[in-house]
Symmetry: D2
C-alpha cells in the first residue's frame, strides 16, 4: 500500500482524490491540500483523509507519493519541490506552458531519481489502447495514416482560455500525445489550419476554436487531428490508424444502446456529453499503471512524453501564425 | 445457355423474367405466358422475348426449363404438366396449400426424372447464408436456439388473404424453411401463439397478423419465429443462431449509412421497406443456383424442402386452434 | 442522509455495501452483518463502517433502513423482522421460492407500513429503461410483441443450482419482471420449451439450462424470453419491444469500441462477460431510486412486483413438466 | 424515350451501356462505338444495340445523346465534336488533364447550347447525398469541418498511372468534387502532404500513393481528404460534415450484415472490395439525373463542376512539390 497525497482539489484534483480513495487497489489517500482550504476540507471529509495546511506539510511528511493537480502555472514549482523531497510524482498535463520550465522540472526529477508519471489518461482508454496495440503488434503493417478526432461539447470559460496556452496546448496536447503513442514515432513537422468559428469571444481572447493539424512522423506516417471546441452532440473522441495491412478504429461509445425505430426513422441516444462519462475508466487505469510503475520502477509516461506534445503545440501555433509547415526542430 | 420460359407474369413472375433476362449468366429467357395476355405482352416487349399464347405452346416447344410463377392454385397442375413434358422446373413457393397435391407433384417429378428447384430465395441472402454456414461448419458448436424475425411492412390486400392459406402458410412458410435450412434438422413439433392486432379485417378473413411460433427440431434445437404483418419501420428480416460455441446473427441491412448527430440525438434512415430492396440479390443468387443445379444435376432445394414447411404451417394453424403444441406427425 | 445497514456480505451484499458507501448520495452505510464475521469485518474495514454481531443488534439500533442481501431462504424471516422493527427495506430478488412465504412478508410489511423496494436492478439499466419509456410514452403504439434475451456467460456452481429454485426462478425471474415492466401489463399464461444442452450435471440436479418461454399478457401482448446458462461470448442481455407504431431495442453495449479491419475481415471485442460490467450503473440507479422513494414515500418496485415473477417462474416449471401452456391463475 | 450512344466500351463504358440498356427508364441505348471493334461488337450483341464503325457515324445519326466514356485524352475532342453535332453529352471524369482543353470544351458546349452532365457519380450515393442534404437544409448549422476518406482497395496498373495525371487528378478529383458538393462552397487553397508508401514503383512512375489534402473553402470551412491507393480491407469511402449544429456522417455499407460471436471475439465481413459493389446505385442515379436534366433543361453537374476539381488537383501537385499551401488562383 503506497500512501499518496493530492495537491489541488479543484475539479480534476477532486476527481483524482476520489479515484485513489475508492477505486485503486494499492494506493491509500492520506492527505489533500488546496489553497482554498474549504475545498480541500470538503474533499478530506468526504473521503476520510487528512487536510493539510500547506504543501510543505505534505512534502515533509512520510507520504510516499504526490499527485500534482493544481493549476498549470504551479506544476513545475511543485514538481521540483516534490522531487527534492523524494516523493514519487503523478503530474497532470500540461507540464507547463514553457519549455524551459519543463526542462527545469526534468532536471530536478532526474537529479532526485524519483519516479514520475504524466497524466495522459487517454492512453488508457480501452478502445484507443486497442488501436495502439494493433499498430504495435504489427496487425496493421507499416502505419501510413493516423486520424484523431477530438472535439469538446462546449468551450471552457473565456477567462480560462486566456491562461490555458490556447487550444493547441490546452486541448490538442492530448492529441499530440495520442499521435506519439499510437504511431510510436516522433513528430517531425506540424501544419495547422485553424479558425474562430464557434464564438468570436474566443478569437478576441487570442485563441482559435476549430482546427485541422497535420503532422509528419519520423516513420513517415502522416497524422491529422481535427479539433473543435463545440460539438453539440457530445464529447467526440475517435482514433483511426491505417496501415499497409489494415485499419484499426476507436469509435465513440454510446450513452446507452437503445434504438427507436418508427415510420419517421431510427433514433439513437447521443454519445456522452461530459468527458468524465467517457474517460473515468481511463483515469482509473492510469492510476493502476502508476501503482504498477512504483512497483516495477518503470513509468509508462515520462516527462519527455510530457515535453514533446508541448513542442508540437508551440509548433502548431507558429504554423497557424505563419501559414506554413513548421519543423519541430524550430521550436526546441 | 439454357433456354427458359416464365409461366405467370404477375408481380413475382415479371421480376423473375427480368432477372433471368438481365442478370443471370447461362440462362436465356425465350418466352413468357400469362392468362392476362396484355401483361405477358408487356413483359415480352420489354425483355425482348416471345409471348406464348398458351402453356401448351411452351411445353411443346423445345424450351429446356420453365419457371412456374403463376398463382398458387395452379402450381401443381403446371408442375405435373412441365414434368411430363420433360422440362426442368423452377417453382415459386408455396408448392400448394394442400399436402396431397404436393405429393402428386412430387410423384410426377420423380416419374419424369426432371430437375426441380423450389424458390426459397432467402436461403441465398448473403447474411442469412453466413449464419447457416457458421452452423454448418461447426463455428457455433451444437445449436441450442434459433430465432427468426420476419415482419412485413404492411399487410397484403384482404382479398389476397382469403386465398393465401393464412399467415402461417403464406408468410411463415419462409421462416419454416429458414429454420430447416439453418439448423439442418427436421421440425418435430410446433407451438403457436397468435393474434389479430394489426387490422380486425384480417381476423374477419379468418387469418391472424401477429404471431410467435416455437419449434422443436430433431437435433434438440428450439426455434422461435416472430411474425407481424405490419412493421411500420420497414421489412424486418433477421436470423440469430445460438450454440455451445457462439452466436451468429444476420441483421437488417440499412437503406443507406448516413447518420445525423445533433443536440436532439442521432438519426438514421430506416431499413428498406420493400422486400425487393432487401432480397433482389438473393433472387439472383437463387437463379444462379438453379443454373448450376442444371449443370451438376443437384438442386439445392427439393420438393421435399417445399413440402416440410407446408406441414409446419398446417401444424401451426392446428396449434393455434387447439392451444397446444402439435406434432408434425399429426399432420402428415 | 439516511442511515442503512447491509445484512449479508456475500458477493452481492458486498457489492451493495460498496455502492451505498461510495456512489449513492443521501445514504450512509453505518453497519454490515454476516453470519461469516470474517466476511463482514473485511467489508466493514474497507468501507469504514461498523460490523454488527447480530441482526438483532442492527434492528434494535437506530439505523433507518436495511438492505437484505443474505441467502434467499432467509429473506422472508429478515423482511418480517425488519418490518416489525420499523426499518425501510431494500430486498434482493427473489423474495422467496415459496409463494406463501412471500405473502407472509407482504402482510408483515403492510402491517408495519414500512417502505420496501425489491432489487430488480435491470429496470434501471438506461437502455432497457429507454425501451420501457418508448412503450409508456406511446411512441410504439399498442404493444404487440416483446422479446427478451437473457443469457449468462457460464453456469453457476452445481451446488448452487440445487438451492436456487431452478433456472426459471433463479434467472428467468429477472425476465418475468422485465416483461411486466416494459409491457405494463400482467402475465396471463406461460408456455415453456426447455432442455439441458449445456451440462448434463445441471439436468442431474433437476434443472434446465436452455429455454424459450412464451407469455401472454392481459393487454394481448405476446412475450418471448430466451435463456441460456452459457453464452461463451459474454453476458447477453437484450430487450425488443414491437408495436403498432414501431420498435424499440436495447442492445448489448460493447466492452470497448475498437474495430480491426484487415484483409481477413473485421474484428470487434466481445460484449462484457461479467454481469457487473454491464449492470453496475443499474444497481447504482436502483439505490438512487430507493433513496428518492424514502423521500417521496413511493417505492417503484413493490413486494407485489416481487411476487408476480415468482408465480410466473412456478408456472414456467409446471408448463415444462406438463408440456402445455399454464395459466398464472393455476399457480396462485 | 431519349436515344443515346456510348463512345468507348472499355470497363467503364461497358458498364454505362449496360446500365442505360437495363436499368434507366427513359433512355434507349441505340449504338456503341470503340476503336476496338471486337469490344464494341460484344457489348452490342449482349445489349441488343448497333455497333457503329466510327464516331462520325454516330454523330451524323439522329441519336439524341452521347456518353463519352473513352480514354481521358480523347474527352475534349469528342466533346467538341458532339457539341457541334448538337448532341446532349454525358461526360466521364476527368474532363481532361489540361485546363486549356477543358476551357476549349466549355466554349464549344456553350456555343452549341447542348446539355452536358459530368459523371461525378458519388454525388448520387444515397448516404453521401444525405450528408450533403443535412448541410444544405441547415440541419448542421454553419459548416466548420469536412472530412473525406477515399481509399482504393488496390493500385491500378503502373502503366495506367503514367497517363492518369497522378493520384490527385485520377483519384482525388472525386474528393475535390465531393468537397465542393457537400460544402456548396468554392475551394480557396490546397495543402498537400503525400508520400509513396504502398509501392515504390508508383513513386518511380512519378506518382504518390498516400496523401492528406487540406482545403480551405470560401465559406471558411476546412476540408481534409485522406487517400490511399491500397486499403486491404476494401473500398473505403466515407464523408463526415461537422458544423455548428451537428455532424452528418456517411459510413461504408457492409458487404452483408452477419456477425459471428464466439469466445475468441466478434467477426464481421469486410466492406465491399470493388467500387462497383459500392457505387452501382449511384451510377444508375446519375443516369436518372441526366435523363431528368434533358427534360428540365437543368443539368446538376456542369463543365464548370468538371473544371474546378482539376484546378484543385493541379494545386495539390504544386503544394506537394513546394511544401506549402497553394492558392487556387495560382493555377487558373
Amino acid at each position: 500500500m503506497t500512501s499518496i497525497a493530492v495537491l489541488g482539489t479543484g475539479r480534476i484534483g477532486k476527481m483524482h482524490a476520489g479515484l485513489i480513495a475508492r477505486q485503486v487497489e494499492g494506493l491509500e489517500l492520506t492527505a489533500v491540500y488546496d489553497i482554498d482550504s474549504a475545498s480541500s476540507q470538503a474533499v478530506a471529509d468526504e473521503l476520510g483523509c487528512e487536510r493539510a495546511d500547506s504543501v510543505a506539510q505534505i512534502l515533509s511528511s512520510n507520504v510516499e507519493a504526490v499527485a500534482i493537480c493544481s493549476s498549470t502555472d504551479t506544476h513545475v514549482e511543485l514538481t521540483v519541490a516534490a522531487a527534492e523531497a523524494g516523493k514519487a510524482i503523478f503530474l497532470e498535463k500540461p507540464v507547463s506552458l514553457d519549455l524551459a520550465q519543463v526542462d527545469r522540472a526534468a532536471a530536478a526529477v532526474e537529479a532526485a531519481g524519483v519516479p514520475i508519471h504524466v497524466g495522459f489518461n487517454r492512453r488508457y482508454d480501452a478502445a484507443h489502447a486497442a488501436v495502439q496495440a494493433a499498430v504495435a503488434d504489427g496487425s496493421l503493417g507499416d502505419l501510413h495514416l493516423l486520424k484523431i478526432t477530438s472535439r469538446d461539447p462546449e468551450p471552457p470559460p473565456i477567462d480560462y482560455i486566456g491562461v490555458s496556452g490556447g487550444m493547441f496546448i490546452d486541448m490538442t496536447i492530448h492529441d499530440f500525445d495520442m499521435a506519439r503513442f499510437v504511431t510510436g514515432s516522433e513528430i517531425v513537422d506540424v501544419f495547422t489550419k485553424a479558425a474562430v468559428r464557434v464564438d468570436p469571444a474566443i478569437g478576441d481572447a487570442g485563441d482559435v476554436d476549430t482546427a485541422i493539424v497535420v503532422l509528419t512522423h519520423e516513420s513517415g506516417c502522416i497524422t491529422t487531428i481535427d479539433n473543435s471546441r463545440q460539438a453539440v452532440y457530445g464529447y467526440d473522441q475517435r482514433v483511426e490508424a491505417f496501415g499497409a495491412a489494415g485499419m484499426a478504429v476507436s469509435e465513440n461509445p454510446r450513452s446507452h444502446t437503445a434504438e427507436i425505430h418508427t415510420a419517421q426513422g431510427t433514433r439513437l441516444e447521443n454519445i456522452p456529453y461530459f468527458f468524465l462519462q467517457r474517460y473515468i475508466p481511463s483515469y482509473v487505469a492510469a492510476w493502476q499503471a502508476f501503482e504498477r510503475g512504483l512497483a516495477t520502477g518503470v513509468m509508462p509516461i515520462s516527462l519527455r512524453d510530457g515535453r514533446a506534445p508541448l513542442v508540437a503545440g508551440l509548433a502548431a501555433w507558429k504554423s497557424h501564425r505563419e501559414g506554413r509547415p513548421v519543423q519541430m526542430s524550430e521550436i526546441g
